[in-house]
């Protein structure tokens, strides 16, 4: 039994693919930027001396890390509706991805912050820096530098995970694929094409984060240390 591959019909749909790529990139970029901010704040919250704050940040992380993204997306999507808010599919998808990535980022960033030498924090206290100033000037950069590879991997995983938002109707690359395959009846070719696009996207994301690392971490650049 042999199968005749026929990519022509599928590739003809390239404008649709482009639209899907655009949405996937938009979703991922928003989720990475805001998910990083959420993760950073909750990591600080988790390390706080205020018990309720530390506990609630921990509960958030555990709740997200132990449930599927798909279910989280449903809860956010229908949750907005239950609250009576009308939000677009795109907003719901973005919010769900941010909430999801925030939890994973929190764990990684916290590990980095915990690994900062206590003596350096003490030295900063003795320079009359406030708690927030210590986070900003003393802890943040070296902590992120230490966990940057793990962080970058997590962000790349998010680009792939954003495919799940197609299940609430976000018009991302995966959703586009399902449309194209139903129009061309060339499902196998369609999904092969999409898989290749995702592989290229995740590779580009990796290169991008590597470049970001070089720009942000001045010391590594100057001393010629690779990640």
């Amino acid at each position: 039994m042999s199968y005749q591959f026929e990519f022509a019909d599928v590739l003809e749909q390239w404008p649709l693919f482009l639209k899907g790529i655009r949405l996937t990139v938009q979703l991922s970029a928003l989720a990475v930027v805001f998910g990083f901010v959420v993760g950073l704040l909750t990591a600080i919250g988790r390390r706080s001396d205020t018990p309720w704050l530390a506990w609630s940040c921990g509960a958030y992380v555990e709740a997200i890390r132990n449930t599927p993204l798909l279910v989280q997306i449903f809860i956010v999507y229908f949750g907005f509706a239950a609250l009576g808010w009308k939000v677009s599919v795109f907003s719901a998808a973005t919010a769900a991805l941010i909430i999801n990535l925030g939890a994973y980022t929190c764990e990684i960033v916290r590990a980095g912050m915990d690994s900062i030498n206590k003596g350096q924090i003490e030295a900063a206290e003795c320079l009359a820096l406030t708690k927030l100033q210590i986070y900003r000037y003393v802890i943040l950069v070296p902590a992120l530098e230490k966990v940057f590879p793990a962080l970058a991997s997590q962000f790349v995983l998010l680009v792939l995970a954003s495919s799940v938002t197609s299940q609430i109707g976000a018009e991302d690359l995966t959703a586009v694929a399902s449309r194209i395959q139903s129009e061309t009846f060339r499902s196998f070719e369609t999904y092969i094409t999409v898989a290749i696009i995702y592989i290229v996207l995740s590779y580009l994301a990796r290169v991008l984060f590597w470049a970001v690392g070089l720009i942000v971490f001045k010391r590594r650049r100057r001393l010629g240390l690779a990640f």
Binding site: N66, T67, V71, Q72, F74, A82, F148, V164, A195, I199
Partner: protein
Amino acid sequence: MGGSFNSNHFVFLMMGAVWTLALTMLAFVSGGVLGFVVSLCRVSPLRALRLITAAYILLVQGTPLLVLIFLLYFGVSMAGFQVSPLLAADLALTVYSSAYLGEIWRGCIESVPREQWEAAECLPLTRTQRMRLVVLPQAYKIAAPPTAGFMVQIVKNSSLASVVGFVELTRAGQLVNNSIFQPFLVFLIVAVLYFAMCYPLSYWSRKFETRSGIYARVQPE
């Protein structure tokens, strides 16, 4: 609308949870076997074998699991075989797990101290004996916590089997919701059930995790 959430619905969700566990176990066993082969190939002295498996890992880890499921669901049927949703989901999860477990286990094998290899070489044991008698028994211990951690991923990702219609926990939730239309409540219950399955594994994994999980990815100064 079929009324409010009742015990029948709950029983239906529990059945879904059982199928989630079944699918997880199935994928874990087959993915584990394949992943074990992948990890051995990755540390093989044969360059070609290392490169092929490296490419395999790169491709699988660069593709969303969802796309992998569609690819296998449609792909295998295009080739003229009838694929059930369960088989498609299991195949996709197997391929997915094998790539990640292969990488995790390769790390564990390589973290067995060099001296152990050298000592075994001096004994003299063949390469297979060295692996089987000296390296692997030590690697198993290192591998247990991250492997449990990855099982959490399989449980969670098995939810994607719902997209091809396999009735595991998430699909069961969708079906219940279709009849009573209380999505927020239904999916919250679904989430709690997932949490109940995943949290013990996460907890155990973290408790015994030495320095092999995300902390190993923290670069030393």
